[in-house]
Structure formats: structure tokens, C-alpha cells
Symmetry: C2
Subunit: 340 residues, 2 copies
Amino acid sequence: MQQALPPLPVPSGDDLPPALCILGLGLIGGSLARSVQGTVPTIGWSPTEATRSAAAADGYDVAETLQEALEAAAERDALVVLASPVTTFRTLLRSIDEIAPSVRLTDVASVKAVVQDEVAEVAPRTRFIGSHPMAGTAASGWAAGSAGLFRGAAWVTCLTDDSDLDDWAAVAALALAIGSRVVPADPTAHDAAVARISHLPHLMALALAQVGGHGGSLALSLAASSFADATRVAGTRPELIRAMCETNRDALIDAMDDALGIMGVARGSLASTGSLLKIAEAGHRARADFDARADLLTEVTLDGEDLIDQLLAVGAAGGHVSGITRGEAGLIVRAWYPAD
Amino acid sequence: MQQALPPLPVPSGDDLPPALCILGLGLIGGSLARSVQGTVPTIGWSPTEATRSAAAADGYDVAETLQEALEAAAERDALVVLASPVTTFRTLLRSIDEIAPSVRLTDVASVKAVVQDEVAEVAPRTRFIGSHPMAGTAASGWAAGSAGLFRGAAWVTCLTDDSDLDDWAAVAALALAIGSRVVPADPTAHDAAVARISHLPHLMALALAQVGGHGGSLALSLAASSFADATRVAGTRPELIRAMCETNRDALIDAMDDALGIMGVARGSLASTGSLLKIAEAGHRARADFDARADLLTEVTLDGEDLIDQLLAVGAAGGHVSGITRGEAGLIVRAWYPAD
């Protein structure tokens, strides 16, 4: 990266939400609670009694019931975070629409368009900004969480033409405060991207684990880092993989077809001519591009009437937000943007 | 692992080769030279002048010419190690057949049946035992080598019905002395296994890197550890990937068809029913089996007339050799073997 401008102050006061209410205390929700400790007052809730007890025993403020959590959120103008599996959102949104209908709201699901639609349908009065922190491990549950999980990771914040920038700023400020790179994105563009770099890798890991297993005990005993690394995410709980992949069906099918096409062409070439030239060179070049992706960013300042469009352009180009403050005419955003 | 027997002495004297001659000083050859330093006298050679100079500058004994290396090997009854790309073996074998025709010989290529055949054809008088240390990184070249590369890694040693066990013992003793797990295997069984757990993972990484790249800058900026880990080996030099994959064509096509079949069925299921149940559960189970693969090994002692068959049975079952010594009736081998 090049040409850092004088830093903007880390957002606080005006932009950080006055409180957080985290619904779901698994890996992501539990890590978020730990990450904001001392920065933003937080109340958590989980449908599982054992999880609530574990979080409370670790010194976190935990509501006994969803109703209690949402009443506290409404009272404190908290940002409510949906941090449970996406399949549970509809039920939670119904309670939100009943108990805290105009609350600030975000979620951490790995699909964004379907969540955007569901919120618009079930809890239309909430001040919703979808988000997706791109962090995780194969482990899950409260005990697996850690305060450093989001540091340096991308945190997608969704914007559409009618998003409220003040609502966006609250979510972005939170993500910045815990060390994430804030990436603005349109929900559909997000879904297409993660199908390729997260959901498809999970399916390929699941397939590869089986192909290795079909090779029997000798194959598994010979497996070294290339197999271990490539199948690591197959250790994720199957229901979590299904929840994220099945809800992103159309984009994932596109990504699968792309992969099947490349592999199929390579298979044909190997069988007919014995050559893997094309896949070897194109794949190596693609990995080199990935390694070089953040080499030429430059810092820019964004503001004005078309700020939503500017933010979306930053995300689409591979950049990210690095700071937020307020001027007389509204939000001022500092961002890293690919240099020409 | 369970029930360790009293340890056999680390092999030395009788079984370790009196000297090593390493032809090719890249990642594997260079790491081998560093690993045996102080244990076995070693002379190295590389066709590249810069590599010879770098190794000599680091204090290693380097021959100026292949002829000089092979004459020294013949004189000292050294174990010659083919540590250059498999495409160079034919030329090297011709020189060996001319200059050091009955020398001890091994190689470190990632395919074993074609090498076995090539040695039988070009240098049939050598005392050959194919081997394949299952260690590597995306880096290559002399500078990338390290003394610890083989520690804890599988080192395949090939056996067929007419193998000489004394020749095998020299290679196995060397691998044990540098901390590898020695896995006896039939060359064809080895090739089928590595197609599944090494060559296919490389092709899938190459395909996935391209699919991610097709998602553009947003996709790459969102990529987290699942994509980075799954595409890491796509950073390997394309000519090295091609050399190992293209020489293992038939076994690799079987593995590719297995993967394409699993992915294709999953694609069909996702498109028609929206479910990824089958791939999610079978893949997760396969990865769990992989994680548990060495949990139930027990130590056994092998000797007698059918030692080759016993050794191959150990490797096929996922076990490995842990020690070698000599009794009055010949070799005695200690091995870890899956418990009932």
C-alpha cells in the first residue's frame, strides 16, 4: 500500500452504536462480544441455556429471554446483531418486528440478498444494514470465539440505493473499531463473490476429502499439507456448510459450473494429449494475481451526494474503508482504493 | 498411538549408506543435503552453475560435473539420489549406467511406477529402491531447503517381489535417520494414492484460483483463509505441477473422475432439490476419518521369509516403519500398525 493520508480518528461517539445486542453466541457472535468488550456496552442472548450460562460465567451480560434482550435493545437504541444460523432469522425477525420494530439491525450471515429480502418482508421498519464478517475457523460455539477473530479480516457492509448512510456508519464504525477492513458491497454482488471464494471452496473440500478417503488407508497416511489444507474446511459442521451454501443456490451453481468446466477441460486434455499446460499456467497466474491483490492501493477521501455510489465503487474495485468522520455536510469516509 | 515397544536403536553402521550422492539441489535435494549433514558424508551436484555455487558457498561438498559426482559415488559405494525433475531422469540414468552401473540408487519423484520402469530399462544393474518423501512447500530451489523438511513426514519406500531388502534397508535407514515415517508401498499403489491426496489437490487449487479470479476484485478482496489455504499449492511453479501430474496420468484421471462425479451429483442436487445433504455429510465424515487416521496404531515387530509382504501390508494399512536392526536371520523391522 502507498500514500497514507493523515489518519482519520477512529470513529466513536456519534457513529459507534450506543449499545450492542447480539442474538446468537456461537463463534461469530461470541467473538464479537469479546471484541467490543470495553468499547460498546453489550447484551447477548442465545436460545441454548448452556451457551447463555457459559457466556455469563465468562463475565458477559446475558439476557434470559429473547424478549428481555430486545426490550433492552429498544430502550438503549442498540444495534441488534443477528448472529445465529440464517435459518433462524425469520423467527427472530418476527419478534423484532413485535418488540423493537424500528431498532438498528445488522446480521452476520454469509448470504446477503435473501436476508435483505427477508428483513424487508418481516421487519420492514428496522434500520437494517446487512453485514458479513469474512472470518471463521472450522470450530464453532461460544468456547471457540476470540477477541482477535475480526482483526484484519474483511467485513462486508451492504448498501443499496435506498440505504441510510447513518445506519451504515454505525455498522461500519463498529467493524472498524474491532480492526476489520470494511468492504461496501451490493448484496447480490457479495453473494456472487462469496460463492466463488468461500462456498465453492467448502464444496471442493468436501469432495476432495471423499476422493482421498476412497484411496484407503495408504492414501490417508501419505496425505501431507496440500491435502490437509485443502480439506480443512470440510471439518466445519455439515449443517453450517449447508445453511450458507444452500441459501446461495444460484450464485453457487454458477461457481460450480465454472469449476466443473475448468476441471472437465483439464481432464479431457490430460486424457487426449497428456498435457495440463492450460490449467497449470492459468491457475498459477490467478493465484499470483490473488497474492498481489492489495499491492497497489492508495488512500482516498470520499464525501458528497453520491457517497453510496462512491462506496460501492470502492468495494467493487477491491478497496475498503479505513476511517469515518463527520464534516458539516455529512459523512466523510477515508478508503483504500486501487491505484491506477 | 499406543503400546510402544522398547525402541530399536536408530539404524547406523550396517544399514545407513556409507555416503550420499545427491543429483539435483532444489528444495528436496537441498533439504536432504542439510538433513544428513554430520550423519552421512555427502556430495551434491546440480546442472545449474548458480546452484552449485550457492551450495558450495553454504559449505556443502559439490562436484563440478556429473561424471565427477558419479565416480565419487561408485568409489564410496554411495547411495545416489535422483533429486531433479522426473523429466531429467533418463539422461541421468544413462550416465549412471555408464559410469556407476551397479551403484545403490533411489529417487524422490512423486510418481513411482514410471520411474521403476525407466530404471529397469536404462540402468538395470543399479540397486534401485524408489522413494518419495511426502514433504514440500510452494517454494523451490536450493535457498528454499531446510534441514527439518522431512521430520515427521511420510517417506515412501517402494518394494516389489524382487526387491533386495538390504538395498531397501539403506534407503529406509536414511529416511528414519532424518526423522521421516517410512511407508513401504508397491509403486502402482503409491501412484494411485498420491493422485488422490497430492496431484488432484493441486489441480483443484489451480481450478479454484481461476474461479475466484473470475469473480473480480471484490471476490479476491473478500477471500479469507478457506480460499487462501485451498489455493496455496497453485503457487507452485507450473512446470513442477505438470511434471508430477502428467507423469501420473491414468491414476490422476481416475481421481479427477471421482471428484467430478461427486461435484456433479452435488450440483444436480442443489439445482433440483436445493439440498447439499449428501456431499456435506459424506465429506465431513471423510475428513473426520482423515483426522482420526493415526489414532489406533500399535507397534509390531516384523521379520522372516515373507518380510517384503509384511512390509507392504503395513504400508497398505496406513502404518509405517519406526526402526530397523539386524538379527542372526536377517533384518528385524519395528513398525506402527493399525490396531484391531
